[in-house]
C-alpha cells in the first residue's frame, strides 16, 4: 500500500479535490497547469493543510481531519523534490545532501550516503556550490537530498521540466532506477504524456 489520499481544499472561490488510490510503483498526477497538482504535493508534505479529508502513506496517517491528526512537516518523512530544486545556496552540494541526515539517522536510512552518490552520479559535484550546477545536476542533487533525509516516500514536482532532451533522459533514468531498486512509493506531477507512458504505474487525472 502506498498513497491513500482523499483531500478537499477551498481557496477563495476555487475548490481543489483530489483522490489517489493505493497502487504499486510510481503514481502520476497528470493534468493541465493550474489544476492544483503542486498543491496536492504540498498537502502531502504538510506545507498546505487540506480543509478536510485524509492523507495516508504506507499505512501511516499523516493527516485526518475527522480524527484531528496533522503530523508536523518535519516528521512526515516526505522526500519532496521541488520543481525549482530549492538547494540551499550557502551550502555546498555535500552539505545540501547531508542536511536531512539527522532524521535519516533517527528514522533509519533508506540508502547510505555513498550509495546515493553512486546511484545519482553525484561524486564530481560534491564540492560545488549550487549556483554552479546545471538544471539537470541540480535536480539530481535535490533528489539525493530528499532520499538521504530518511524519506518514506518521494514527491516529484515536474522533475523533467525546463530540461533539454539529454538532461531529461538522465533524470528519467534516475527515476526509473529509484522506482525499481528502492521500491519507494513515488508521486510525480507532470503534464507530459510521454513521461506518463514511460514511468507511470497508475495515473490520477486532475
Amino acid at each position: 500500500m502506498s498513497f491513500d489520499v482523499d483531500v478537499v481544499l477551498r481557496r477563495g472561490d476555487r475548490r481543489f479535490a483530489c483522490r489517489i488510490a493505493p497502487a504499486p510503483g510510481l503514481t502520476v498526477l497528470f493534468g493541465p497547469s493550474g489544476a492544483g497538482k503542486t498543491t496536492v504535493l504540498n498537502m502531502l508534505a504538510g506545507l498546505v493543510r487540506p480543509d478536510r479529508g485524509h492523507v495516508r502513506v504506507r499505512e501511516r496517517t499523516l493527516f485526518d481531519s475527522a480524527a484531528g491528526i496533522d503530523v508536523a512537516i518535519a516528521r512526515r518523512q516526505a522526500g519532496y523534490v521541488f520543481q525549482e530544486a530549492r538547494l540551499f545556496p550557502h551550502l555546498r552540494v555535500r552539505s545540501n545532501l547531508r542536511y536531512g541526515a539527522r532524521r535519516a539517522a533517527r528514522e533509519g536510512a533508506l540508502i547510505g550516503f555513498d550509495e546515493a552518490v553512486a546511484l545519482l552520479e553525484l561524486k564530481p559535484l560534491l564540492d560545488r556550490w549550487p549556483r554552479t550546477l546545471s538544471g539537470g545536476e541540480a535536480r539530481r542533487v535535490a533528489i539525493g537530498r530528499a532520499l538521504l533525509s530518511g524519506a518514506r516516500f518521494l514527491l516529484l514536482d515536474e522533475p523533467m521540466s525546463s530540461l533539454d532532451r539529454n538532461r531529461r533522459e538522465e533524470v528519467m533514468r534516475t527515476i526509473e532506477r529509484l522506482r525499481d531498486e528502492l521500491a519507494l512509493p513515488m508521486l510525480m506531477v507532470t503534464h507530459d504524456p510521454g513521461e506518463v507512458q514511460r514511468l507511470a504505474g497508475a495515473v490520477v487525472e486532475m
Partner: protein, 228 residues
C-alpha cells in the same frame, strides 16, 4: 595628533562599538518582528522604531534624559540595582548612540530577512528540520550579510552622533566627548582649526569605510540568494 585627540578617537570607537553590540540583538529581534510578524500594532511599532531617525536629535536626547535621570523611570531602577548612573558617563553616550543607530540597523536587517526565500525554509522543514534549526541553518546565514551591513551602518551612525549625546550626557572630555563633540568644542576656540581639520578628516575616512563595507556586504548577500 595630540594625546587628547587620541583619547577622543579611542572613546568614539568604544562608544560606537558598545552601542552597536548592545543594539544588535534588539535590532535583529525588531527586524524579525517587522519582517515576519503579523500582529496588531505592527505599524505603530514600525513608527516607534523609526522615530529617532526623524525626530530632532535634541528631543531624543531630552527624552533619554527624562528616562535616565535619577528620578526618571529607568534611572531610578538603575540606581537601585547597580548604584550607578549613566549621566555624564560614556555609558550614557553609548546609550544615546545605540538609540540613534537603531532605526538604520533595523531597516538594513529587515530588508535582508525579507529577502530570504521562504521556499528554502519550507524545503528545510520537509527535510526534518524544526523551526529553531531552520532559523539557525537557513534564515540566519542567508540574512547574515545584511545583518552585518546593518551593524556597520549603525556603527558609522553611532560615531557621528551629536545632538542626542550632547543633550543627554553633555560634553565631558575623556568621558562623553566623542569625535563630533570634540570637533564642535574645538570650533569654539580660535586657533584650533588644525585639530578640527584632523578630526574631520578622520570622521570622513571612518564614515566612508563603513559605507563601503556595508555596500559590499549587501551586494554579496544579493548574489547569494539565487535558488536554483
Amino acid at each position: 595628533m595630540s594625546p587628547e585627540e587620541w583619547t577622543v578617537v579611542w572613546l568614539s570607537l568604544r562608544v560606537g562599538g558598545v552601542a552597536v553590540a548592545a543594539a544588535l540583538p534588539v535590532a535583529f529581534a525588531l527586524a524579525w518582528l517587522l519582517a515576519r510578524g503579523r500582529f496588531p500594532g505592527r505599524v505603530l511599532l514600525d513608527g516607534i522604531v523609526h522615530l529617532p531617525l526623524v525626530l530632532p536629535p535634541v528631543v531624543t536626547g531630552w527624552l533619554l534624559l527624562l528616562a535616565f535621570a535619577p528620578a526618571g523611570p529607568v534611572g531610578a531602577l538603575l540606581e537601585r540595582w547597580t548604584g550607578e548612573t549613566v549621566l555624564f558617563r560614556w555609558t550614557g553616550a553609548a546609550i544615546a548612540a545605540a538609540v540613534m543607530a537603531l532605526p538604520l540597523m533595523v531597516r538594513a536587517m529587515r530588508l535582508s530577512i525579507e529577502a530570504v526565500d521562504r521556499r528554502l525554509e519550507s524545503a528545510a522543514r520537509t527535510l526534518g528540520a524544526g523551526r529553531v534549526r531552520v532559523f539557525a541553518t537557513i534564515t540566519l546565514p542567508l540574512s547574515l550579510p545584511g545583518v552585518l551591513a546593518g551593524a556597520v551602518l549603525g556603527f558609522a551612525r553611532a560615531l557621528g552622533e551629536f545632538g542626542a549625546t550632547i543633550t543627554f550626557v553633555s560634553n565631558v572630555p575623556g568621558e562623553t566627548q566623542t569625535l563630533p563633540l570634540a570637533i564642535y568644542d574645538a570650533l569654539q576656540v580660535p586657533g584650533r582649526e588644525p585639530a578640527v581639520l584632523r578630526l574631520a578628516i578622520l570622521s570622513v575616512a571612518l564614515a566612508l569605510a563603513a559605507l563601503v563595507v556595508s555596500e559590499v556586504l549587501t551586494r554579496r548577500s544579493g548574489r547569494r540568494l539565487h535558488v536554483l
